[in-house]
């Protein structure tokens, strides 16, 4: 269960070159709160994801892990402030096909958007850890940062994760995307998207190229970047690209799920047993 499809997030800096030799015009700083996911993003799910660890489930394991750290710390006579629970929005495919939301494109361009649950968890962790005494920190994390009570808790919380998921699901999920790129319907949609983009003054063969443009390595999105991203989203809509792409991948997932039904059922059962154990750790917490 090591693999989960992930909702993407975070503002990621990098270096930028701008356009035509001129310095990039900086767009206004991204809003502090990311736009709420669109209905399309919320609905973008694939059959094999049922067998993977969801974002909510991963957060549940982390909660159990944190509780186990607390038990260990208590046993050593040290205090531990448990982290507040977070509610995770399940949008694992927000960026699968690049930027597909107008509001995200207009504000963030191709930069990553930090999801509220990630940001909250990060802030809570940071505040809690900053308040630790040296003794508490060493007991919790050891000298290298990944030892101490945390290492014990981590090993326990993830102990029964079904390892078999790794190879099978990873292969299928990657194969789905790779196969889709060779699909003639998607290639046709790419051409339609590319023509649309060219009509707006942007030259890219496909949306993945647009998202990977090295000019977007700036700390903040430039106006050129947000303009490109807005056009990208509009052209995806015009070309029906997300619908075509997701339909191709959904068909692949369904076939793969049927082909590997037995193995996947075993995985699902093992995952359910593991997560039941994890939830028991949480429910038994004071």
């Amino acid at each position: 269960m090591r693999r989960i499809l992930i909702a993407t997030a975070l503002l990621v800096p990098a270096a930028s070159s701008g356009c035509a030799g001129t310095p990039p015009a900086a767009a206004p700083p991204p809003a502090s709160e990311p736009p709420a996911p669109t209905a399309e993003v919320l609905s973008l799910r694939f059959p094999l994801e049922d067998y993977e660890l969801s974002l909510t489930e991963a957060a549940t394991v982390e909660t159990a892990e944190d509780i186990l750290v607390g038990r260990c710390m208590t046993a050593r006579g040290l205090r531990w402030q448990a982290l507040p629970r977070v509610t995770v929005t399940e949008i694992p495919n927000r960026r699968r096909y690049g930027v597909i939301e107008p509001a995200v494109a207009a504000t963030f361009g191709y930069h990553l958007v930090e999801e509220p649950s990630d940001r909250k968890r990060s802030r809570d962790r940071r505040l809690r850890d900053l308040a630790l005494t040296r003794d508490q920190r060493l007991a919790a994390y050891g000298t290298g940062g990944t030892g101490g009570c945390w290492a014990e808790a981590n090993a326990r919380a993830w102990r029964d994760m079904p390892a078999a998921e790794d190879a099978l699901l990873r292969r299928l999920v990657q194969e789905s995307f790779a196969t889709s790129l060779r699909d003639p319907h998607l290639r046709s949609s790419f051409r339609a998207w590319s023509r649309c983009m060219a009509g707006r003054g942007f030259g890219y063969p496909d949306p993945l190229s647009a998202a990977a443009d090295p000019r977007w390595r700036s700390p903040r999105p430039s106006r050129e970047e947000t303009r490109t991203a807005v056009a990208d989203v509009a052209c995806k809509e015009q070309a029906g690209l997300v619908r075509t792409w997701s339909a191709i991948e959904t068909a692949f997932h369904r076939k793969a799920a049927e082909r590997h039904r037995r193995a996947l059922l075993v995985l699902r059962a093992a995952k359910a047993a593991w997560l039941a154990d994890v939830r028991r750790i949480i429910s038994e917490a004071p």
Partner: protein, 146 residues
């Protein structure tokens, strides 16, 4: 952040290996031992580990062999990262991974964090990112859930 996530280049490797007596590459030191020493020293030298909670290590080959590169935070574009001490790009070159951090890390297939992606749980390792039908070496973005 970009700089923090960058991997040290060849000059840095030389400094690490030669600048330290114990890790110097000598006639009696095997390549793997030297490599391991360099790896450890790199890890140690960059480990604000106690605070940061370790690093994510990508490896060029299966079984944690070949070039290696360490990350302490998100990097959406691995095209300008190189295997430690080499001129070979990390982008699309990772075949195994150790997540020696307290955080989950998502590996994305494409620059800009698009496409297929997978999750490496905290404190885990995967000696073979490949699969049977498509080639491995597809990691182009790392995203830290920290």
């Amino acid at each position: 952040m970009r700089i923090r996530n960058r991997i040290l280049g060849g000059a840095a490797l030389t400094a690490v290996l030669v600048g330290s007596g114990t890790a110097a590459v000598g006639a009696s030191t095997s390549l793997s031992a030297a490599r391991q020493a360099g790896h450890s020293r790199l890890a140690a030298s960059e480990a604000s580990g106690e605070a940061a909670g370790g690093k994510l290590w990508l490896y060029e080959h299966d079984g944690f062999k070949g070039g290696f590169a360490g990350f302490t935070g998100t990097d959406r574009d691995l095209t300008d990262n190189y295997w430690y001490g080499t001129s070979r790009r990390v982008d699309n070159g990772a075949s195994s991974v150790k997540n020696q951090t307290r955080y989950g890390v998502t590996l994305y297939q494409n620059v800009g964090c698009t496409g297929a992606h997978s999750y490496e749980r905290p404190n885990s390792e995967d000696k073979d990112l490949s699969n049977n039908d498509i080639r491995d070496n597809r990691t182009s973005c790392v995203y830290f859930h920290r």
